[in-house]
Assembly symmetry: C2
Homo-oligomer: 87 residues x 2
């Protein structure tokens, strides 16, 4: 068992109204010094079996086809933790 | 300038219908071997000035009070990248 994290963020050139709303609210709420906020999604996948190149390739396909809209979003994949005890 | 990432995830004991919907769809879509999916939010904050302990303490307050609902969500904070050139 291992946990693979897929982060999906809007591409830099795409307007992010959610993030902007947070960023504009911050000074009003007493937080200065944050010049930009972008909000995205984080998926934690619990993968059965070893996370080898084949598994990561499948997760790449999965992220590309279902988790992210690659027209407007970028995604990154990383292996976060491997639970040795659960192997 | 530095980028600080705040990840907000539902606590493990809280049901995550969004993640479950993704997880249940995967076998139908041809992806086997993923036993659980949880979906959360990722905030990227661009911080002016140095990211010292005081700045991280402020971001902790901010995450606790505005970005996460700590009744049902956990959050983690990490400094992702420091743009040396932009200092």
């Amino acid at each position: 068992m291992a946990r693979v994290v897929v982060d999906v963020m809007l591409k830099p050139e795409i307007l992010d109204p959610q993030g902007q709303a947070v960023q504009r609210a911050l000074p009003r709420l007493g937080f200065q010094g944050i010049s930009d906020v972008r909000q995205g999604k984080r998926f934690e996948l619990e993968v059965d079996g070893p996370v080898d190149e084949a598994a990561l390739a499948r997760i790449h396909d999965l992220a590309e086809s279902f988790l992210a809209n690659t027209v407007i979003e970028d995604f990154t994949i990383r292996v976060e933790e491997v639970a040795e005890a659960a192997k």
